[in-house]
């Protein structure tokens, strides 16, 4: 890919120490325990595209979002935003922080209930001192109009708005620092279906208007299909397949991706029963040996139980799959 990469993750692993306290470990004679939330995730996101991460709950989507936002450091590997290392242990330059933002899943928790909407939207402007104090109110009014709310809403408190309106406020806050890159963590999953499309279309319009890059995190494949240019499929913290959106939906390669897509109700197969996803995601404290997916995989062979598959490129459209059973000819 010749496009300019705005974000790159290089073999990022995040482990959480979930051990019991030292005293309990000594008394019960147990060692330290770790939960691997993401393992060896490498991916790049090009400027201006929408990259979607999909996966079941517990697959590490939100952990990746938090690491990219600098809320927690990776245990292994590094994250670079336009060349700058994102690692809270080393501190992140204010000039870099300004350039990325996040839209959260729950618009009822992402806005401080004691703050007026105007102050909420102005917080990034004030924190980064982007403009003189006298101009802040005007900018807030402009942002409110951009996201489809009225300038006088700045005086109100969040509880006076519906879920969809609150998500618009959250989007206005994310836009206020004039970012280039926005992580959207399940931006519509807490909203009514009727409102979801409005918010998604607003996000697309803003992307066109400001040249934004999105990392969209979702478990909703219809949302992903509507929004994404490229899709990465996560399973148990491992990236099993990355492919352009159209290719992925047309011809899923990894057995897990196929299982996910088969579970989606399809209008072309009216009457046929959708095949449910088989089994459950394993315990990330003691993941299966070899390929993490092998206990649920219909194609599993002996090699899958012993050796973890490396991601391999497929074709020339930037597609990659981590599976022993998928050959490059596909």
């Amino acid at each position: 890919m010749a496009d300019e990469m705005i974000l790159s993750l290089d073999r990022v692993t995040r482990r959480f120490d979930i051990s019991k306290p030292l005293l309990n470990r000594m008394i019960e004679g147990v060692g330290k325990q770790y939960l691997t939330a993401t393992a060896d995730v490498s991916l790049s996101i090009a400027r201006g595209e929408t990259f979607a991460l999909v996966g079941e709950s517990g697959s590490g989507k939100s952990t990746i979002a938090k690491m990219i936002m600098g809320l927690m450091p990776p245990s292994v590997g590094e994250i670079r935003f336009d060349g700058d290392l994102i690692d809270p242990r080393h501190g992140i330059a204010r000039a870099t922080r300004r350039r990325f933002q996040m839209i959260f899943q729950d618009p009822f928790a992402s806005l401080n209930p004691r703050w007026r909407v105007g102050d909420i939207i102005a917080e990034p402007i004030r924190t980064f001192a982007l403009m003189p104090k006298t101009e802040v109110a005007g900018e807030v009014a402009r942002l409110l109009e951009v996201v489809g709310l009225a300038p006088r809403d700045a005086e109100k408190y969040p509880h006076e708005f519906s879920g969809g309106q609150r998500q618009r406020i959250a989007i206005a806050r994310a836009l206020s620092s004039k970012p280039e890159f926005i992580v959207c963590d399940e931006p519509t999953s807490a909203l009514d279906v009727s409102v979801q499309a409005q918010i998604l279309n607003l996000m697309r319009d803003l992307q066109d208007a400001y040249g934004l890059t999105y990392l969209l995190i979702s478990h909703d494949l219809s949302v992903v299909r509507h929004m994404a240019d490229r899709i990465g499929v996560l399973y148990l913290g491992r990236l099993v397949e990355v492919a352009p959106s159209a290719d992925l939906f047309a011809a899923p390669q990894h057995p897990y991706t196929r299982m996910l897509l088969d579970a989606v109700p399809d209008l072309t197969r009216v009457g046929a029963r959708a095949r449910a996803v088989v089994g459950e995601i394993p315990n990330p404290i003691s993941p299966p040996s070899g390929c993490a997916f092998h206990p649920r995989c219909p194609l599993a062979q002996d090699i899958c139980k012993t050796t973890a598959p490396e991601a391999r490129s497929l074709g020339d459209r930037g597609r990659s799959v981590a599976c022993h059973m998928v050959d490059g000819a596909a």
Binding site: K66, M69, G70, L71, I92, R94, R97, R98, F100, Q101, M102, F104, Q105, D106, A109, S110, L111, N112, P113, R114, W115, E123, P124, T127, F128, A170, R173, S177
Partner: protein
Amino acid sequence: MMARLSDSLTRAYHSDLAYNFRKSPVAVLAALVALSLVLAAVFAPLLAPSNPYDPASLNLMDGFTPPMTENAFTGNSYLLGTDNQGRDVLSTILYGARLSLFVGVMAVLFAMLLGIGAGLIAGWRGGWVDTVLMRVADVQLSFPSILIALLIFGVARGLIAPDQRDTMAIWVLIISIGLSDWVQYARVVRSATMVEKNKEYVQAARIIGVRPVVILTRHILPNVMGPVLVIATIGLALAIIAEATLSFLGVGVPPTEPSLGTLIRIGQQYLFSGEWWILLFPAIALLALALSVNLLGDWLRDALNPRLR
């Protein structure tokens, strides 16, 4: 600015809390009693018939005058009688309530400051900081608070020069009561902080690099103040009683500037010789003050508890 203020006032009048208040006769009555006592105490120098702190205005011959009776020697008459030194009981009650309220309010503010600070830090940092702070709180809670106050009072008396003891007594009292009460605030603020810090609005602030001090004071503190105000109201009644107890035990404010507790201590010496008014009226004043503040606190707690609506 004025528009915002009147806007907030209208909002406050129409809020659930104000509605709940108007519908609760106990709360309205308690608020009226508390408010009139507080006003009487604050404006004591204007309301009181005499200044009990001014030795020159006192006449020992006036001592032990019963309420609304002419004194046999001087012919003076007092609404609530006089005490052993000829001080007008009504005036000493007004000045005493002023002192009791001042000590109570300052002690609560001091306890709040300590408790909120410790609670915010423990809840935000977690880990060993949290463990250390909360173990200290546990140890402190295993002592009766009046014992802690006595202990601090004793230590302070040893440290302060004898000629300054009387002037410093009030501040020692405030610190003693405050130090024995901070634990409640710390616990409530800590648990509320632990809930709030994981909410997405805090993450949003962390992403743009807002400093932890600013996040704690501007984002989290306003969201944990509800329960703190409830404890503070009930705590005020407890602090007033604690001050009275300490003064009654003779370790509080000096008899020359009596608080309600000191007055009760003076009064109980004369109860069995028939001079009942010296004890009774300060005791009623203390009861009314503590009870009304306590009832207000109880109402506030219930009104802010969504499960009891």
